[in-house]
Every structure is written in C-alpha cells, then in structure tokens.
C-alpha cells in the first residue's frame, strides 16, 4: 500500500516537499514507514526514533498503519 507521509517544519525543508509517498507492505507498522521515508528522502536526516502521529495522535513505532491513516512525521515541537 502507499502512504503519503506529511512532513513539517525543518523536515519539510530538508525533504524539499510537505509530504513524501512511500510504499509498505500491508500490516506494516510506524517503524516500517519511517524506514521507507529514510530511503525515499535521503536528505532528510532523522533521529533514531522521530515523532510520528497517526490520525493526529502520537504513535509508537510498533503501531500498525492502515492505508486510510493520516501519517505525519515531525521534529521536536517548539510552540509557546
């Protein structure tokens, strides 16, 4: 299945786009999606365990991703 991963702030700048499309196997988890993003956007240097949200909720690397999910990958937040 294909997943369009939303990128924000410095991650979007590094990748040169606000999202990156990756292909993962059905049943893939957040960690698998991150691994594919690393491969698809080599200019985007990610920490070992970047922040990921699935359907606008923080998600652990083990969470299974569905084709219909909204997946976002972003750097440490700095609001306020």
């Amino acid at each position: 299945m294909t997943v369009d991963v939303l990128l924000f702030a410095s991650y979007a700048d590094a990748a040169g786009a606000p999202q990156v499309r990756v292909t993962v196997a059905t049943g893939a988890c957040v960690g698998d999606v991150v691994a594919e993003v690393r491969a698809a956007a080599p200019a985007l240097v990610l920490p070992a365990r970047p922040l990921v949200a699935v359907n606008q909720r923080y998600a652990p690397p083990t969470q299974v991703v569905l084709a219909s999910d909204e997946v976002a990958l972003f750097p440490p937040v700095s609001g306020g």
């Binding site: 700048d13 700095s78 609001g79």
Partner: protein
C-alpha cells in the same frame, strides 16, 4: 472551556473576560510573547508553523485535562500562527478558579505541556536576514544547502 489556533492578534482582555464569572476569585493569564533575542542572536520576528488539525486537537485535550486536574471549567487557550513581530502574543492561557493556587498552577501546567506536546514550530527570523527552526538541533544536510529553512 475553549481552545483555538488563530491567525489574528490575540485579544487578551477578551480572553480574560471570557473565563471569569462571579463564582471565581482568581484569574491567571499567561501570555507568551516574541522576544528580541535568542541565545544572543538578535531576532526581529518569529513565524509559527503548526500541524493545524493535530495542534487543535492537542490544545483541546490539554484544556480538558487541566479542567479535570485542577477542578475548573474556565480555561481558554489561544495560540497564534503565522509571522509575529516583536512583543506580539504567541500564546495566551486564561484560567479562572475559586482560588488562586489552582488558577496559577493550571496555567503553569498548561504552558509546560503545550510546549512539550502541541505540534507547533518556531521559525526565528534574525535581524541579519537569516532564519532558523528553533529546537531542532544542528541540522546537517547531506548536500550542503538542503537544510536551509528558507529554501
């Protein structure tokens, strides 16, 4: 209780008035503003960028949690997005409570959690024309300029 991401200046007096009822004896209002320097670098403004739907959801969750934890229903949080000039309010948190301690503690708790959880990022604009994303470490692009925040 109300929370919002807003694209226009925050009306502090309106927010304070919104939470205060005759049943409350204390109102705390925390306001975060744009400072003119960061780490010794002169700043002339900050651009706030948000993952809007998630930021709105997290702000609402924060307000809910604060109400439950501190025993009030009177919480308003507004966070600005877009470019803000020096001195402008980026975030305002108003809490009204019967007593001062929970009013103050709730505002403090909310701003600390907000800075930890809500997906909003600061792009600082420096007086020398350069820009940098705050708190994202030293970015090391593989090809020299891919990490330029204004690329």
């Amino acid at each position: 209780m109300r929370t919002a991401l807003v694209g226009v200046p925050i009306d502090l007096a309106a927010i304070a008035a919104e939470v205060l009822t005759p049943a409350e004896g204390a109102l705390s209002l925390f306001v975060g503003t744009v400072r003119n320097e960061n780490g010794g670098r002169p700043v002339d403004g900050i651009e706030y960028n948000a993952y809007a739907p998630m930021a709105e959801r997290e702000l609402a969750l924060l307000a809910d949690e604060a109400c439950a934890q501190f025993g009030t229903e009177h919480v308003v949080i507004e966070h600005r997005t877009g470019f803000l000039a020096l001195g402008e309010a980026s975030v305002a948190i108003a809490v009204a409570h019967a007593h001062r301690a929970p009013a103050l503690n709730a505002a403090r708790w909310i701003i600390e959690e907000l800075k930890r959880r809500v997906p909003i990022w600061k792009l600082e604009h420096y007086t020398d024309g350069t820009r940098e994303w705050v708190g994202q470490g030293r970015y090391s692009p593989v090809d020299g300029d891919a990490g330029a925040p204004d690329a």
